[in-house]
């Protein structure tokens, strides 16, 4: 497939609402799979999603979604499913009618729309009785599910989900994440903005960090972490003699911190040079003085990257 026709591309995109900055000079490319948009409130995540879904037009730059542009509305919107963050629905509809109505707006025949509605409701695990009730009487979790059903019902190739996990209980969150993961593995573009970083981190293929309307970082989480060179990487090593290991690590320059794990069977090591660190660890293992059981990055995740690049106050570090 032509790469342009299989990616979401932003080229030097800016969006201003009058004098208010939405996003500025964003250039990024998203491949199939799951992409997480991460940033503090007011950072421009929703603006980025609105631009992607054609709901707002960029002030500058160009956007193409699978080679399509919003002005080609029919094809563009048929390839795109959008789940807004707002708890908003056309009034008076039942869950089933909401999805059916949506499908008919996509141009499905009534027969196809009924079939696809039932399929979508099954995928989000909303039972038939609940679907026949008015949305006004739904719990927050059910509203999230029906929104998600509406977004996936027409089989889009790009799914844009604005805070899709808000209000879901742990079980429903796990089911939703499994669904996103499944769709991502099938080759769909799933773009998620979420504050529940720990959970989306497990399924995301790449992360886009944004703050104050500016793109801070994008790419595979591990690659992005490696690029953050001014923050030494933290690695947890499970072993039988953490004190000995820590002392050996401190003997070299690149190790800036070693901290024993609370259970006494491991040590957190911060290193400014991860390649040298792994070479040293190999040497220690070969020596046989320390029995190493497991090695795992301790800050190689979205949450840590968020803290390093954006900080807890939301301003880019």
């Amino acid at each position: 497939m032509n790469p342009v026709n299989d990616t979401i591309r932003f080229e030097n995109v800016s969006k201003f609402y009058g004098e208010v900055l939405g996003v500025n000079r964003v250039t990024l490319t998203m491949s199939p799979g799951i992409t997480t948009l991460v940033g503090p409130n007011g950072s421009g995540k929703t603006t980025l999603m609105n631009l992607m879904t054609g709901l707002v037009q960029p002030s500058r730059g160009t956007i193409s979604v699978l080679g399509l542009e919003p002005r080609n509305a029919t094809e563009f919107f048929c390839n795109l499913g959008y789940c807004a963050q707002f708890d908003s629905f056309p009034r008076g509809l039942t869950g089933f009618q909401f999805v059916l109505d949506s499908l008919m707006l996509f141009g499905m025949s009534e027969e196809d729309a009924h079939h696809l509605t039932a399929e979508a409701l099954e995928r989000v695990q909303l039972d038939v009785d609940a679907a026949q009730r008015k949305i006004a009487g739904y719990s927050k979790g059910m509203r999230q599910k029906i929104r998600l059903a509406q977004a996936i019902a027409h089989h889009p190739r790009v799914l844009v989900l604005d805070e899709p996990l808000n209000g879901l209980d742990p079980m429903a969150r796990a089911e939703s994440l499994a669904l996103f993961q499944e769709l991502g593995r099938q080759g769909m573009h799933v773009v998620i903005s979420s504050h529940i970083l720990d959970e989306v981190d497990r399924i995301a293929d790449r992360v886009v960090l944004i703050t104050g309307g500016y793109l801070i970082a994008q790419g595979n989480i591990h690659e992005v972490r490696r690029e953050v060179r001014d923050k030494p990487m933290q690695v947890l090593i499970r072993c039988d003699s953490p004190e000995l290991l820590a002392s050996k690590m401190f003997a070299v320059n690149h190790c800036v911190e070693a901290r024993l794990h609370a259970d006494g069977h491991g040590v957190f090591v911060r290193t400014a040079d991860i390649d040298q660190f792994y070479r040293l660890l190999n040497d220690i293992a070969v020596e046989g003085l320390v029995r190493i059981e497991a090695v795992a990055p301790a800050d190689d995740n979205t949450n840590a990257i968020y803290q390093y690049l954006i900080g807890s106050d939301g301003s880019a570090a």
């Binding site: 950072s43 048929c78 499905m108 027409h154 099938q186």
Partner: protein, 290 residues
């Protein structure tokens, strides 16, 4: 790195033509509007004058009934003036119904922030408004030209003389006059409802938009000693238009009669203002960051 199976298949079935999509919104708009008991109540109320007028046509056209009830008094004549009164009555009922219905069609969507969801479908802002316009226009048709033409047809049937062919322009005038009013009322109703999100206020604002300029026009007439302030008086302008379309005798002092082009210009200007308001207000997003 994930392994993407590329087994996902987008929908590849047949789709309906693009022009039919606003009808989906119109259908749901009609369902929403007519689910209200107040709408049904107003509809029934608006048809009561038609029942009275139906009886009047029966009395006027039935010699026996006329002899027994009206004692042969020829006071009841079914002519252009009669149908002008019928049309006027129904059109003012239409204003009441529009002020109730229009906010339900638009204010709810804006108040509930439902526009981003609806506009992320292959439907434009124009398509969205067209759907709402159709729902409103169809609802108003039930109380304007449809009952008026039913009375027209009944008069054609009940009249002892051949009546329909000689009065065909009257029938066309009723239809054109009602459609003009429906279009103006629908545009005004949608524009005001998109401007005022609170439904109750929107209902009042629709009445205000129709009647407040009439007061302003009256003041302008009195101060400037002119007749052109009447152009702001929607009831007067519309009644003059209906009178001319139906071919009924003039009711205004000839000095105060308004030229056709001036009335057409006022209606066109009002419609353009409504379109401008709708263009500004019906958007997928307001300033939202997050």
């Amino acid at each position: 790195m994930s392994v993407f199976l590329h087994e996902y298949r987008p929908y590849s079935g047949r789709t309906t033509p693009l022009w039919t999509r606003p009808l989906v919104l119109a259908r749901y708009g009609l369902a929403e509007v007519w689910s209200s008991k107040i709408t049904v109540g107003l509809f029934v109320l608006s048809l009561l004058p038609c029942v009275v007028e139906l009886v009047m046509i029966y009395l006027a056209d039935n010699p026996v009934a006329r002899l027994l009830i009206l004692r042969g008094n020829p006071v009841l004549t079914i002519n252009e003036t009669f149908f002008l009164n019928v049309l006027e009555t129904q059109c003012w009922f239409a204003l009441v119904i529009a002020s109730w219905i229009a906010p339900r069609l638009v204010s709810f969507d804006l108040g509930d922030s439902a526009l981003p969801i609806l506009l992320s479908h292959p439907i434009s802002r124009f398509g969205y408004l067209l759907g709402k316009f159709i729902a409103l226009a169809v609802s108003l048709s039930y109380v304007t030209w449809i009952p008026c033409l039913v009375l027209f047809v009944y008069q054609s049937y009940a009249s002892p003389q051949p009546w329909m062919l000689t009065h065909l322009p009257l029938g066309l005038g009723i239809f054109a006059g009602a459609v003009l009013w429906i279009a103006l009322l629908s545009l005004t109703g949608l524009a005001v409802s998109s401007w005022v999100k609170w439904r109750v206020i929107a209902t009042g604002a629709i009445f205000a938009v129709v009647f407040v300029p009439a007061g302003v026009g009256g003041i302008a007439n009195a101060i400037l000693r002119t007749k052109w302030g009447l152009l702001l008086n929607v009831p007067v302008v519309m009644t003059e238009i209906w009178q001319r379309l139906l071919g009924a005798p003039a009711f205004m002092n000839p000095r105060l009669e308004l030229p056709n082009f001036a009335m057409a210009a006022v209606l066109a200007l009002a419609s353009l203002m409504c379109v401008a308001v709708l263009n500004a207000r019906i958007r997928a997003r307001e300033v939202v960051r997050g």
